[in-house]
């Protein structure tokens, strides 16, 4: 089904972006972000976007590019530090941010992709996150009761994800902690577009070890290059005596 493969990010987004749409984007900080698709989203010029993801890029990187191009109206995220434009536009009221606890955000996206309109979680009970939401008690195994908040599933018009490898059927494999939000986001898009570092033939990925089955991927590109910017390079000195590690 090589019809899923597009020559580049711009063509993969062509004809499906529109003003006011909801876009989900994978990644944690700048790790595992669909960096080429985000540039194409910026170049598409689609406006008044609702953007759902754990973060919204950081200065000069990732979804920051779309933000700086004045395309975003609303953000659902768990953490938006290291992003000065977003800070200033939020404080000035130009952009709305709905803060979600990270696990609640991940679960809401999974729920959206899995046909679950709502679920209950203990996370956020008694905090601002629960304001305006339904709360109720459920029993613990020992019979005591705890309070829970109802959270709803999330879906998107377009989901953008970054994987390590794909086969031509759209089966995806992620690498290390670059997996993060990508698998759930892949399930929650009406149209999901994946960008990968390498596209292989069917049968070259172990069928036992597919992280995202191809059913969730409608369009696929091989990214021409990956910057993979590191936000906080942290190392330890190599012991002087050590020659081979």
């Amino acid at each position: 089904m090589s019809r899923k493969i597009y020559p580049d990010a711009a063509s993969a987004l062509a004809g499906i972006t529109f003003d006011g749409m909801t876009v989900m984007s994978g990644g944690f900080g700048l790790s595992g972000i669909p960096e080429n698709l985000i540039v194409a989203l910026r170049d598409s010029g689609a406006k008044n976007l609702t953007v759902i993801g754990n973060n919204v890029g950081c200065d000069h990187h990732g979804m920051w590019l779309v933000l700086a191009n004045n395309q975003i109206k609303k953000v659902l995220a768990s953490y938006v530090g290291e992003n000065k434009i977003l800070e200033s536009r939020y404080m000035s009221g130009e952009i709305e941010i709905e803060f979600n606890p990270q696990g609640t955000l991940a679960e809401r996206i999974r729920a959206g992709g899995a046909g679950i309109p709502a679920f209950y979680t203990r996370t956020g009970y008694g905090t601002r996150v629960a304001e305006g939401k339904e709360t109720r008690q459920f029993p613990n195994p020992d019979g005591t009761l705890d309070w829970y908040v109802m959270e709803t599933g999330l879906v998107a018009d377009i989901s953008l994800v970054k994987a390590w490898k794909a086969d031509t059927e759209g089966n995806l494999v992620y690498r290390k902690t670059a997996r993060n939000f990508n698998p759930m986001i892949a399930t929650a898009g009406r149209i999901t577009i994946a960008e990968v570092e390498e596209i292989v033939q069917p049968g070259e990925l172990d069928p036992n070890q597919i992280h995202t089955p191809g059913i969730f991927v409608q369009r696929l590109i091989k990214g021409p290059s990956y910057v993979k910017h590191i936000e906080r390079l942290t190392t330890r000195p190599r012991p002087a005596a050590q020659e081979n590690n």
Binding site: F28, G29, L30, S31, G32, N54, A77, S78, Y79, V80, G81, E87, Y90, M91, I97, F99, P101, Q102, G103, T104, A106, E107, I109, R110, T121, R122, T123, G124, Y125, G126, T127, R128, V129, W164, Y174, R175, K176, T177, A178, R179, N180, F181, N182, P183, M184, H211, K228, H229, I230, E231, R232, L233, T234, T235, R236, P237, R238, N245
Partner: protein
């Protein structure tokens, strides 16, 4: 007359048990990773999707696809596993992590915790903090006892927006250690930092507590 950061972390490290799976927050809790007692097996979780977090990489060996929840480059261990954020927080929310050690802005005598926002200042977001305190069965907070101006941060009731309600089991400050009953049973002072007197502690603590030194 008070514990320093390393001493606070060392005290928090005493909460570790052999075989524990633990999540460490940013700041002083991160130091606990270097204080795991010899011979004790503790597996560190990073909520962005990793169990078995190793130390920082040697210079030049960093991998942009391998970071911790603080977005620092890290390394893997032989027992490491990676998973999605949904699976990671399923693990956290489901109570499978035995211990979470994290920082705080305010704690109160009912075990409420505030550590994510200050009204009027830029809100960066709560990240995974609300999930951790709601899901992990034992939560230890490590924080300075007082504001820079000297006001108590251990209060009768938190004044900042909460991260969680009735979620703190143990509070370690630079002055003392308190056991808190999440279900409203009150607070016990169990340790004083070296050289700190009970009178000194009372003078700078708003929360009520009984003494069980």
């Amino acid at each position: 007359m008070a514990w320093n950061r390393d001493q606070m972390a060392a005290r928090a490290a005493k909460e570790l048990r052999d075989g524990y799976y633990v999540n460490l927050g940013i700041g002083i809790p991160t130091l606990v990773a270097n204080m795991i007692p010899e011979g004790m097996t503790v597996t560190l979780q990073s909520e962005n999707g990793m169990l078995g977090m190793g130390p920082f990489p040697f210079e030049g060996e960093e991998d942009a696809d391998l970071i911790n929840a603080g977005k620092q480059t890290i390394t893997e261990l032989p027992q490491t596993s990676y998973f999605s954020s949904a699976d990671s927080f399923g693990m956290i929310r489901g109570g499978h992590i035995q211990l979470s050690i994290l920082g705080g802005m305010q704690v109160d005598e009912k075990g409420d915790l505030a550590n994510w926002m200050v009204p009027g200042k830029m809100i960066k977001g709560m990240g995974g903090a609300m999930d951790l305190v709601a899901g992990v069965p034992r939560v230890v907070v490590v924080m300075d006892h007082r504001e820079k101006g000297g006001d108590s941060k251990f209060l009768k009731e938190c004044t900042l927006p909460l991260t969680g309600k009735g979620v703190v089991d143990l509070l370690i400050t630079d002055l003392a250690v308190f056991e808190i009953d999440r279900r409203g049973g009150g607070v016990k002072l169990t340790e004083l930092a070296d050289g700190v007197t009970l009178d000194e502690l009372r003078a700078c603590t708003e929360a009520s507590f009984t003494v069980a030194l």
